[in-house]
Symmetry: C2
Subunit: 254 residues, 2 copies
C-alpha cells in the first residue's frame, strides 16, 4: 500500500518504521516542523513535508497521528484525497474525521511508544474501526500483516481501553519514578529495583493481578504500613499516594 | 550447608526450592501448621515439623521466614543452636535476633514471591547484613551461589528498599487490578492489556522511568484527563486515584 503519515511523534515514528519493515511504501511524512518530518522520512525512504497543501492525493492510506486536538484541522486539509483516512487516537471519535471525509477509520495501537525505542508490533493490540465494511477489511488486512492481535472495537470501547491503559501503563511508570526518588534520597540506585519490576509484570502475563497481589496492605500488616508512612514524613506528597493506594488495596481485597 | 527453614509462606517456599536446587541440604521445614510444613518439606527432601522444640540444634544456618511480628518469638526458641540465624524481612531490625542470639544476620531477597510461581533467584537482589564479619562472609558465599546480585546493606537502607518495593511492585500490581476492573465494566478482557504492561516494565530495564513517562498527564492534555475523570463518575474510588496520580505526574514533571 502507498501510505502517507501525518505526524512525526512517538506513535507516528513507530508506525512508520513498522510499515516500512513490513514492505509497505511510505510516500510522505508530514510535520509542521520540517526537520522532524525529514528525520523520520529519511529513515523510511519517504519525502518530508511541512505544509499540508503538499500532501499527495493518490495514496491508498493516510494516517493522522498528531495530538488529539490537531486531528480535525489535519482532516479538513484532506478533503481532496480519495484514499482511506484514519487516525491513531484512543480518545477521539471517528466523527472527527467523518465530519469532513467519506472514507475514514481508526487504527489505534494499544502500546506505549517512544521515538528512541523501536517496538515490534507483533504482539501489539491494533484496534480498528470504520463505518464502511470495505474500508474495515482493508484495515484488518493491513493490521494482520503487522500484528497477531487485531481487534475491531467501537469508539466507546476504544476510550475504555485508553483509560485502562493509563492505569496499566502511565501510572505504574510514575510509581517507578517515585520508587527511584525514594531510593535516591538514601543514596540507592534504581537498578536494584529492576528485577522486581520485571517479575511484577511477568507475573500478570499468566495470572490475574488480583490473585497475585502482595505487600503489607493486602496482608493488613498495619505495623509495616505505619513504619512506611512515617518514613515518608519528609515527602508528604508520596505519603498521600501511599495512603490512597494502600487504602484502595484494602477496599478491593476486603 | 545444612539448613533449617522456619516458615512455609511465599518467601520460605521460594528460598527452600532455590537452596535445594543449588545443592544445599535442607534438614527441616517448620510451620505451626504441620500440613503446610510437610507439603514444602516433601518437595525439598526435608522433615516437616510444627513444634519449635523439635528444631535440630546442629544445622549451619537457620532461616526465619515468618510474618514480621512472629520473628522474635521464633528467635527466642533458637537460643540453644550454634549455627547462624537469619531472617528474611525487609522491615525488621537485626536487633530482633541479636537480642536473643549471638550469630545473627539478614538474608532479604528483594522480589515478589508466590507459592504457585517458582522464581529463579539468578537475578534477584539478595540483601545481606550481619554484625560479624565471618558470618557475613558465610552469607555472601551462600548468596553468590544463588544470585549474581548480592548486596551488603544495613537495616536503614534495607527498610528504604522495602518501602521502594511497595511503590515499584505492590502499587503497580494494584493498578493492574484497577485496569482490569475498568475493562470488565465494559465487557473487555484484561488480556488485551498484557503487551502494554510488559512493554512498560521492559522500557525501564534500560531507561530511567522519568525519561519514558507517557500519557495525558505528562503531556498536560487536560481534555483527555477530564474525559477520563468523567468516565469514572460511577467509580469515585478510581476517580480519586486517577486525580491523585495525575496530579503527582504534573508535580514531578513540572
Amino acid at each position: 500500500m502507498d501510505i502517507v503519515i501525518l505526524g512525526s511523534g512517538n506513535v507516528a515514528t513507530n508506525l512508520a518504521k513498522a510499515f516500512d519493515a513490513a514492505g509497505e511504501r511510505l510516500l510522505q511524512i508530514y510535520s509542521p516542523n520540517i526537520e522532524h518530518a525529514c528525520v523520520l522520512a529519511e529513515q523510511v525512504g519517504a519525502e518530508g513535508i511541512s505544509n499540508l497543501s503538499e500532501v499527495v492525493r493518490n495514496a491508498d492510506l493516510y494516517i493522522i497521528s498528531v495530538k488529539d486536538d490537531a486531528i480535525e484541522q489535519v482532516a479538513q486539509s484532506l478533503t481532496e484525497v480519495s484514499g482511506l483516512v484514519v487516525h491513531t487516537s484512543g480518545t477521539t471519535d471517528l466523527k472527527s474525521l467523518s465530519r469532513y471525509l467519506k472514507r475514514v477509520g481508526v487504527f489505534y495501537p494499544l502500546q506505549t511508544f517512544s521515538k528512541s525505542r523501536l517496538v515490534s508490533l507483533d504482539d501489539v493490540p491494533l484496534c480498528l474501526e470504520s463505518s464502511n465494511d470495505d474500508d474495515l477489511s482493508i484495515l484488518i488486512a493491513l493490521a494482520e500483516r503487522l500484528s497477531s492481535r487485531v481487534y475491531q472495537l467501537d469508539g466507546e470501547k476504544r476510550k475504555v481501553l485508553h483509560l485502562s491503559a493509563v492505569f496499566a501503563c502511565n501510572f505504574p511508570n510514575h510509581l517507578y519514578v517515585l520508587a527511584a526518588k525514594v531510593l535516591k534520597e538514601s543514596g540507592l540506585d534504581f537498578d536494584i529495583m529492576r528485577p522486581l519490576i520485571s517479575e511484577t509484570a511477568d507475573k500478570v502475563m499468566s495470572n490475574m493481578p488480583f490473585d497475585v497481589q502482595t505487600g503489607p496492605s493486602v496482608r493488613r500488616d498495619e505495623t509495616t504500613i505505619n513504619k512506611h508512612l512515617s518514613m515518608l514524613n519528609n515527602l508528604p506528597h508520596l505519603q498521600e499516594i501511599y495512603q490512597t493506594l494502600s487504602n484502595s488495596i484494602k477496599i478491593i481485597h476486603k
